[in-house]
């Protein structure tokens, strides 16, 4: 159970609050993304949980154990928190090869682990491999085609990757020299027999000493697997290193130094190094930012698989909302050190809690429309927007708009909590207080002053996702195509209606001409209604014009 709890965690430098009274619960085996614009405090939060940064106040527990508590002065250092951390700029050790970088931390682990009969395990695997000599020969012959020095390395690598064995086992196979032996098949078969004999002998020995070997050659004592506090053996370390190297595909760089690798390769080595000890909690600080688009997609799916495979908790910092949406089980949106919303990706997308969240998530960005109106007796809201258009907003939820607005105003602290009371009643005035998020209205030929006035006077703000704009002959609104950006699968189109611009997305690669007159509707029931003063969402629903 690697559940992480943050209670009122604050990080303050002077009067600048990098993280402001953060409350967060990360469940076991979650994949949580910390998402937000640059400088919002995501990396700081990550480092605080990992122990690389000391919070000013608050409490952090990992797995029920308080690792930081400002009230009683607990501050467990990073090396005892048993977490993994992937740095944004790799932090590879330049004086070690890739192999040493990955294995360095492994040689340090000492915990209770099952005892294994390594001789038997290795021999059994070798026997298995040698029992199918045709495949083996094909592989070796292929590797030794070029007939030069690098062939042995290539052969080693192929063996390691294909059969998932350690380099020691691979060396043993290569020493048989099957690729150049005249009676390869016989040599292989006799080698297989020899290995099987080793296995059998080990089994006998185990029986003689009163223990048993399980199917995977762990030593069983009266039916129970024998465990001991021990370090990892060389064989185990090699297997782990090879396994993680396969995941990130850096198997052929094992002997190189970090300075001899490209940026993307270095990042993959860093990922491998973090994965190697198999930590329960994994922190990742923008790990895919240096990879090219294709590799990024591949690595993304690998990370997803890893998450399920290892069962660890992943905490991932990114500013790429696409990554956040696709990978996370829950997104934690932060702005200016303050938590904005913490929910599943689709919840954040469909029902954002405030204007900032609505604007940040979604590509292309959501359309904001200033509106005024009143709630009618039947619960719908009669709105007027653009320059005099009228429409009726059907609320999906049962909300009393007027009361809610009044309540939000009463609660109105600015989005950030301005003063945090620390121990000894010390208040420090927050220097980086930010007002309510100002939505951007896209306009054409309208004075800035008029736009600002419109924003000031609006009581409500409608949020319309681009995909809610449906262009068809019978649309109730008419406008003109301002710009069209076809991207193959979809076309992003900007429609000018009166002085306003709306961004829409049309699937199917339809082509539009600029200036073309179109009719469209605002469809769907995921249209959002926000209270303009506090910026908070009142309800979602549909709009009929």
């Amino acid at each position: 159970m690697a559940r992480i709890e943050l209670t009122n965690v604050t990080k303050r430098w002077g009067s600048f609050y990098a993280v402001d009274a953060l409350n967060l619960v990360i469940e076991d085996n979650a994949f949580v993304t910390l998402l937000g614009p640059s400088g919002c405090g995501k990396t700081t939060t990550l480092r605080m949980i990992a122990g690389l940064e000391t919070p000013t106040s608050g409490r952090i527990t990992i797995d029920g154990v308080p690792v930081f508590d400002s009230e009683i002065g607990i501050n467990i250092s990073a090396n005892h928190r048993k977490v993994g951390f992937l740095f944004q700029n790799y932090a590879l050790w330049p004086n070690m090869t890739v192999y040493q970088n990955i294995s360095f931390g492994l040689s340090n682990i000492k915990e209770s682990m099952p005892e294994v009969d390594w001789v038997a395990r290795k021999a059994a695997r070798l026997a298995e491999i040698l029992a199918k000599p045709q495949d083996l020969l094909a592989l070796l012959r292929d590797a030794y085609r070029q007939n030069d020095k690098s062939d042995t390395d290539k052969a080693m690598l192929r063996l390691i990757d294909t059969y998932e064995i350690s380099r020691f086992s691979a060396k043993e196979i290569l020493n048989l020299n099957l690729h150049s032996a005249s009676d390869a098949l016989e040599t292989a078969k006799s080698a297989a027999v020899r290995q099987q004999a080793v296995v059998d002998r080990q089994k006998e020995q185990a029986k003689a000493s009163g223990t048993e070997l399980s199917d995977t050659f762990e030593i069983l004592q009266s039916g129970q697997i024998k465990r001991r506090d021990r370090k990892l053996t060389g064989e185990e370390i090699d297997l782990i290193v090879r396994r993680v190297a396969r995941i990130v595909k850096i198997g052929m760089f094992m002997g190189r130094y970090p300075s001899e690798l490209s940026g993307g390769q270095q990042q993959r080595v860093a990922i491998a190094r973090t994965l190697a000890p198999g930590p329960k909690v994994l922190f990742m600080d923008e790990p895919l930012s240096n990879l090219d688009a294709k590799l990024r997609l591949e690595m993304r799916s690998e990370l997803q698989r890893l998450h399920l495979q290892t069962g660890s908790t992943f905490i991932y910092v990114t500013h790429d909302q696409m990554e956040a949406m696709t990978l996370a089980t829950k997104i934690c949106l932060i702005n200016n050190g303050v938590l904005q919303q913490y929910a599943e990706p689709m919840t954040v997308y469909n029902t954002p809690e405030n204007l900032f969240v609505a604007d940040f998530v979604g590509n292309p960005s959501i359309n904001f429309i200033a509106a005024n109106g009143k709630q009618q007796a039947d619960g719908s809201v009669a709105l007027s927007f653009f320059q005099g258009r009228k429409g009726a907003f059907q609320c999906k939820r049962n909300v009393d708009i007027a009361q809610t607005v009044k309540r939000l105003e009463a609660e109105s602290q600015p989005l950030d909590i301005a003063m945090v009371s620390e121990k000894k009643g010390k208040h420090v005035e927050k220097e980086n207080v930010v007002k309510v998020f100002q939505p951007r209205f896209l306009t054409v030929d309208m004075d800035d002053a008029d736009v600002d006035a419109m924003g000031e006077n609006a009581e409500f703000i409608l949020g319309v996702r681009p995909e809610a704009i449906s262009i068809h002959e019978l649309g109730k609104l008419e406008g003109e195509v301002f710009s069209a950006m076809p991207a193959g699968m979809e076309t992003t189109v900007r429609i000018k209606i009166e002085n306003f611009l709306l961004t829409g997305v049309v699937f199917g690669g339809v082509l539009y001409k600029i200036g073309e007159k179109v009719r469209f509707d605002l469809t769907g029931n995921n249209i959002l209604l926000f209270d303009s003063r506090s910026g908070k969402m009142l309800t979602d629903g549909s709009l009929t014009i």
């Binding site: 002065g73 090396n79 005892h80 993994g84 951390f85 004086n95 340090n108």
Partner: protein
């Protein structure tokens, strides 16, 4: 009642937790320990000098004028500052010291800086040779250039000594202000410290990203403006570092003003001797105060959030200024001649001196008779028949000389190891605790002895050591040397640790790799060049250090005091021979370490 008891135990618990956190990070405990040790080792000697200034010394002027035989008095202070002799004993030497230091700074920065610019940023020829030969004057003991200057320029008519080379060969008599006093002292010290400036300033020039200047030149900025507004500001930290180091070193130099007959605080100190022991200590205090003032100025100019990391852009190309087809040869030629005089000529002179029949006897040059040269200074192993050597056997057989040499090597090695290790730990713990005030304090206290004039430190340890009864032991020498040279190692360690990203160690911390493994497998290997250079610099400096040690031991203990002895005796052949041996030894060591580890003297001072 119970609540207060609970609160109390809570408080104890909190303190315990805080203590546990503090100790779990090795850099904290190291910092604490070092801070305490360094405070004692630096401040205790200073306190003993200060006490000395107000005590009564039997047989000196304060005892005479106050009539006391023991106890404390302010007489020395009053007399030195306001008495009849204050002009001669305090103000003139102080003024001379300040002038000497200031002008030496100027000279070394100009000479070293220009050379650095030429070597790193223009297409001058024979760059490698010039840059290695330029460092020689720093490797040679300070006074050697002073001695050479005298040997070349002094003349019977002007200075009253035997004729120098110019006077003997060409009958040129240089004027008095050229031969003795402020001018030659400034030139000699400036030449001695120019390599410092060259290494520090050159280091920045070498790493400067060409893009910085290219960006300015694309905007059509004139050359001189680029130099003044882009290039120069980048080397400001190096210039400040140089001023800092040269000013205090020049102020603390004894041999140079002594040979060139300039009265400074240092020479006055030695001159005052027994009769004015208390006032001499006051002079030492004045020197210490000046050192502290310099340190505070340094603090103000380099503190704050400005980062002085050298810019190492990914573009490795450096735009070389074209000196012209002829220019690059001509300018190289000029420097060739200059370095010939400052670096090669001294060595030749030393070698020559050891073959002269009598000290200062250059007759063989005029007469052209090679038979006048002799090898007796080297190989004579008995002192019965040969009478001109004052009973000393030749250098190769002179056990006193070789014992002293062995002593020097022992002291140098011990100093290097201790100072280097302590400096490394200081650099590590300070760089990890950058924002804490205690770290700033430890950094300063480690650096303070460097800023204090060597003589003052020597005096402090002399007083301190005498009271402990360890005068004239290797222990005292090593102690003084370590305290004085920690700054070399700590400065170079701190600089290189600051350039190391903290995440490299954090990546290891997260994997619970213990401290000693982190140090020995990650941090030290990455920076091994600058760390070894940090060990090398104390070693080299210790080998040729005179001022610091001369008050702390007898003249036969180490090779530099021995050299001084022979100089005073007028046996220039011996002193030149020892000089030659020292220089060769240092050069060989430097080359060996450079070959084996890539570290070298220039990297230790802070260059790259």
């Amino acid at each position: 009642m119970e609540q207060t008891a609970r609160l109390k135990s809570n408080r104890v618990l909190i303190l315990l937790n805080r203590f546990k956190t503090f100790v779990s990070r090795p850099q904290n405990s190291i910092l604490l320990l070092l801070g305490l040790i360094l405070t004692v080792s630096t401040i205790a000697p200073m306190i003993s000098i200060f006490i000395d200034t107000v005590s009564v010394h039997l047989g000196s002027v304060d005892a005479h004028y106050t009539g006391l035989t023991e106890g404390y008095t302010l007489y020395n202070w009053q007399d030195l500052f306001f008495g009849k002799m204050s002009q001669i004993n305090l103000w003139t030497p102080l003024f001379n010291s300040l002038l000497l230091s200031a002008f030496s700074c100027l000279f070394s920065i100009l000479y070293g800086g220009i050379f650095a610019y030429l070597v790193t940023r223009t297409n001058i020829v024979i760059r490698k040779y010039l840059s290695s030969i330029f460092i020689f004057p720093y490797i040679m003991p300070q006074w050697t250039l002073a001695v050479i200057w005298q040997n070349v320029f002094s003349s019977n008519a002007v200075t009253g000594t035997s004729d120098g080379l110019l006077a003997a060969l060409f009958n040129i008599q240089m004027p008095s202000w050229w031969c003795v006093g402020l001018f030659p002292s400034v030139v000699v010290l400036g030449l001695h410290y120019a390599p410092f400036a060259y290494i520090l300033i050159g280091g920045i020039f070498r790493n400067m990203d060409a893009n910085l200047e290219e960006a300015a030149s694309i905007l059509n900025t004139p050359r001189y403006k680029i130099f003044a507004r882009v290039t120069l500001p980048m080397v400001k930290p190096a210039i400040l570092s140089t001023i800092l180091l040269v000013f205090s070193s020049a102020m603390g130099s004894y041999p140079v003003p002594h040979y060139l007959k300039l009265t400074t605080l240092c020479t006055k100190y030695v001159q005052m001797g027994e009769k004015r022991a208390g006032q001499a200590s006051i002079l030492a205090v004045v020197m210490i105060v000046l050192g502290v003032v310099i340190m505070l100025i340094n603090q103000r100019t380099t503190s704050g959030r400005k980062s002085y990391t050298t810019v190492t852009g990914k573009s490795g190309q450096i735009n070389k200024v074209n000196l012209g087809r002829i220019g690059k040869y001509v300018i190289a030629g000029i420097f060739l001649v200059l370095t010939l005089f400052t670096s090669i000529f001294p060595i030749i002179t030393f070698a020559m001196e050891t073959f002269l029949p009598n000290p200062g006897d250059y007759s063989f040059l005029t007469s052209g008779v090679a038979g006048n040269l002799t090898t007796k200074w080297w190989i004579v192993s008995e002192n019965i028949t040969e009478n001109g050597m004052y009973g000393q056997p030749g250098i190769l057989y002179n056990s006193a000389i070789w014992n002293a040499f062995g002593g020097t090597v022992i002291v140098a090695v011990a100093c290097a190891i201790l100072a280097g290790t302590i400096g490394l730990l200081v650099g590590y713990s300070v760089s990890k605790n950058r924002r804490s005030k205690w770290a700033g304090y430890v950094n300063n206290i480690a650096f303070l002895p460097y800023l204090m004039p060597s003589l003052a430190v020597g005096v402090a340890f002399f007083v301190f050591g005498s009271s402990l009864g360890i005068f004239n032991t290797y222990l005292l020498l090593i102690l003084a040397g370590v305290v004085k040279y920690i700054p070399f190692a700590s400065r170079s360690a701190l600089n290189s640790m600051m350039q190391l990203s903290g995440e490299i160690e954090e990546a290891a911390v997260i994997q619970n790799i213990p401290w000693h493994k982190r140090m020995f497998r990650i941090i030290i290997p990455i920076q091994k060049t600058s760390i070894i250079s940090g060990y090398l610099l104390p070693f080299m400096t210790c080998l040729r250090e005179l001022t610091l040690f001369m008050l702390l031991c007898s003249q036969t203990k180490i090779i530099t005091t021995m050299l001084d002895y022979f100089d005073e005796m007028g046996l220039y052949a011996f002193s030149s021979g020892i000089n030659l041996l020292l220089i060769i030894f240092i050069l060989v060591c430097n080359a060996l370490v450079n070959k084996l580890t890539g570290a070298s003297l220039d990297k230790g001072i802070g260059g790259n």
